[in-house]
Symmetry: C2
Subunit: 228 residues, 2 copies
């Protein structure tokens, strides 16, 4: 369902070139739960920006459902991001002036849901991540782990087919972190959602079908769950 072909991403800074990604080849299957692991700065978030069509590679191609993302129109990319891909950002990217509920239901407006439908669905999602008593809080009125969970709930707003989870449990304790992983795994198993998760969290290992190790912008190795 997702394929990257020799993806390179370079950032030019003055006379220097930072090679965030240096030739990444990956094929990710429909319904797979894939975890991407690697040191800080190894390229995980950059790769997610490529897969989520938030940024373009310097070289190489990204294919979603067989379509090259560089050939897509703006409205096709908008459709992808609204309906197909749910993105949990490493730094959450919540809107400061909107409540938890408003942040979660915002994508639903673009999907055409009514106010009643949005609020009902938004409350259910926040309840799923343990925030039913925080729905009217602004991000500044939430703890770090609570903001993270709002970001998780928002990513699921439009029932995406692919979830890009960038460090979804970084600010969560053992118990709540395990709950979030279980939630994501259930979507993966019950609704065949493809999950691509960048993480430092070893709790993610036992729910993953494959583990991809990345270092210095290249894939070092890929292991199946039984090899771990």
């Amino acid at each position: 369902i997702v394929k990257t072909d020799q993806v390179v991403k370079e950032y030019r800074m003055g006379n220097n070139v930072v090679k965030a990604l240096n030739g990444v080849n990956l094929e990710i299957y429909q319904g797979e739960y894939l975890s991407l692991m690697g040191p800080s700065g190894s390229g995980k978030s950059t790769l997610f920006n490529m897969i989520g069509a938030l940024d373009r590679p310097t070289k190489g191609s990204v294919f979603i459902d067989g379509q090259n993302t560089s050939g897509l129109t703006t409205s096709q990319i908008a459709w992808l991001r609204c309906h197909k891909i749910g993105y949990i950002f490493q730094s959450y990217n919540l809107l400061h002036v909107m409540t938890a509920l408003e942040n979660v239901t915002l994508p639903m407006i673009f999907a055409g849901l009514s106010v009643k439908e949005r609020n009902k669905k938004g409350e259910e999602l926040l309840e799923l991540v343990g925030l039913d008593d925080r729905i009217y809080h602004l991000p500044d009125e939430l703890s770090g782990g609570q903001r993270q969970r709002v970001a998780v709930a928002r990513a699921l707003a439009n029932d995406p087919n692919i979830v890009l989870a960038d460090e979804p449990t970084a600010n969560l304790d053992m118990i709540i972190g395990r709950e979030i992983i279980t939630l994501i795994k259930r979507l993966n198993q019950e609704k065949n959602v493809t999950v691509i998760s960048a993480t430092h969290d070893l709790k993610m290992l036992d729910v993953s079908d494959r583990i991809v190790d990345i270092r210095d912008g290249v894939v070092e190795r890929i292991r199946n769950r039984d090899e771990i």
Copy 2:
């Protein structure tokens, strides 16, 4: 060196009252390495805001070096935050328009260091956290874990006597996370720096003198390192 006496923090939201802290009594000793653990939303960051004099309790008192923080003048509090307390924020709070080096050296300006002294010291601190090749990057040009490490380096800018580390390894992989913990522990042992760390990271357990468990805004129990 730090004492909280029946500290309560309530947030009023419409007709509701959120009790973020509900009577916290803690005594923390000079040179101690204390880890604060508890579920997401249990009050760790709020307690840090009280100890770091960034916010006032609704009830109760905070004492730093025997002085009640509510009795301090604005300039006394500014002095505390400049020279005595180094704060690693859970969401880093870096300035977007400044490079990593500028962010780290900013507190040094208030401590009266010259440009030359600041740049030398700032580069050394960034090297300590593994970012010597990222000193001119803006926060948006850094990975999540790199931003976290800039926040760590900045907290150490003025050789603080007390380090408040709010989830300092949340976005770091095992290896770099361990390096940061080792760095903080070395300060603790070699320079008698008091470390108060809020964390979900079990790697923090073996370097801590005591572990404080917090839940729903109250301290549930305190254990010594040999009891774990």
